[in-house]
């Protein structure tokens, strides 16, 4: 009986020691897990907008080129911007016009996506302020007439308006996905709102580089972009 109690005590103490060790080991494990931090790559990411290149190839009336860039500030925040030039030579029902110029957009991207392990992808929301400077040429126009009693009189002209500009605010929703080491595919959708513009005298800005076409009905614009980017890694943190 005494022996039995002794045996129990012995067993319990072993159990206690075992629990101590295991719990201790667990604690160590936890610390170890925490200490594995996947370092994020910081650097300048630069790339090309393929959307404007594809449209240049497909659309006879359009030529465009756009460079994309961002720079990582912190885990989720990036400085980002685009710079480019566009020209459009448009023939339409009542007005033929030509616009050409260049633009710059600057702002930030915020990554909403929680990456697993060492992945480095983004689902991001972006904010930009955009500025475009352009010239526009009116090539042909008709008069809006409510009857057809007289033959339509078409005016063929060459009226150039220079020194035009526009400032707008833009929000973007997009993706940046790492497909190879440091090589990213990006795509985004853009919603824009005009802040100010210098329009031609007795005419209007019908297309604005970087902003896209304008609408008669309001000062909201839309756009999209897709392209490839490469990150030049500066350091890891």
């Amino acid at each position: 009986m005494i022996q039995k109690t002794y045996m129990f005590k012995y067993f319990i103490s072993i159990l206690a020691i075992f629990t101590f060790f295991t719990s201790n080991a667990q604690g160590e494990n936890e610390i170890e897990k925490d200490s594995i931090v996947y370092k994020k790559s910081y650097g300048l990411r630069a790339g090309l907008d393929l959307a404007s290149l594809v449209r240049t190839a497909l659309d006879d009336e359009y030529t465009g080129f756009q460079v994309l860039a961002d720079y990582r500030l912190s885990d989720r925040l990036y400085i980002a911007g685009e710079i480019g030039s566009e020209s459009l030579d448009r023939i339409s029902e009542s007005v033929d016009y030509e616009t050409s110029g260049s633009f710059i957009k600057a702002g930030v991207d915020y990554n909403f996506y929680q990456n697993w392990l060492d992945m480095d992808n983004m689902i991001y929301g972006g904010a930009r302020i955009g500025y475009a400077t352009m010239s526009q040429t009116l090539n042909r126009y008709d008069y809006n007439i409510d009857n057809n009693y007289f033959p339509v009189f078409t005016n063929v002209v060459d009226r150039e308006f220079t020194g035009l500009n526009m400032i707008w605010l833009e929000i973007q929703l997009g993706l940046k996905v790492e497909v190879l080491n440091n090589l990213y595919m990006t795509a985004n959708f853009q919603l824009k709102r005009q802040v100010s513009e210098k329009t031609p005298d007795n005419f209007d800005n019908l297309y604005v580089p970087g902003y896209g076409r304008t609408f008669d009905t309001g000062n909201i614009g839309v756009g999209y972009s897709y392209g490839i980017m490469y990150r030049i890694p500066f350091f890891k943190k």
């Binding site: 339409s92 029902e93 009542s94 007005v95 996506y113 992808n121 689902i123 126009y141 008709d142 008069y143 809006n144 007439i145 409510d146 009857n147 009693y149 007289f150 009189f153 005016n155 929703l173 997009g174 993706l175 996905v177 795509a187 985004n188 959708f189 007795n202 005419f203 209007d204 019908l206 076409r213 304008t214 008669d216 839309v222 756009g223 999209y224």
Partner: protein, 171 residues
């Protein structure tokens, strides 16, 4: 990865939607080149309207009758007001006003002179013309009777044809 593909689908949908821009249509509520609005008044008492029994109007260079109202009717009976188009490629439109009473037609000619001014309307509608410094000259006839006694310019800048009256014809 599921989240990526769903966001990607949204983007594709947005891009496709964006590709289908709504057509720019020139709707009738947008400003058009105004017509010349003419009132018929009584020569004996110019404060009173005097309807014409039957009126047709023809531009001297045209083989067709001009539209007289928003329905583009070319012949109106018992009417006090008509609105007719003016040429947009020169400073003059010359119209014959054919007045028919008891089966007898009487044609009088009026020249309308003006200065053209262009005004941008919209991408869909293009431009429009407004006519400034309107002058109406009744061409005197050497023989026969004229049904028109004289004309009065009420508004010499034609910018609007829904509210304004531009010319009175007294007969």
């Amino acid at each position: 990865m599921k989240r990526f593909s769903s966001v990607f689908l949204i983007l594709i949908a947005a891009i496709l939607f964006n590709g289908c821009e709504k057509d720019d249509l020139c709707t009738t509520d947008q400003a058009a080149t105004p017509r010349l609005v003419i009132e018929f008044r009584d020569v004996l008492n110019p404060l009173n309207f005097k309807a014409v029994d039957q009126i047709q109007v023809q531009e001297i260079g045209s083989s067709e009758l001009a539209p007289l109202d928003s329905d583009d009717s070319t012949t109106l009976t018992d009417v006090e007001t008509i609105s007719i188009p003016l040429l947009t490629d020169g400073n003059r439109t010359s119209y014959d006003f054919i007045f028919t009473e008891d089966g007898i037609a009487n044609s009088d000619n009026i020249d309308f002179n003006y200065i053209l001014e262009e005004e941008y309307v919209s991408r869909a509608c293009g431009f429009r013309i407004i006519y400034n410094n309107l002058v109406a000259i009744l061409t005197p006839e050497t023989s026969g009777t004229q049904w028109i006694n004289r004309t009065v310019i009420v508004e010499n800048n034609i910018t609007n044809d829904t509210e304004d009256i531009h010319v009175q014809i007294l007969h």
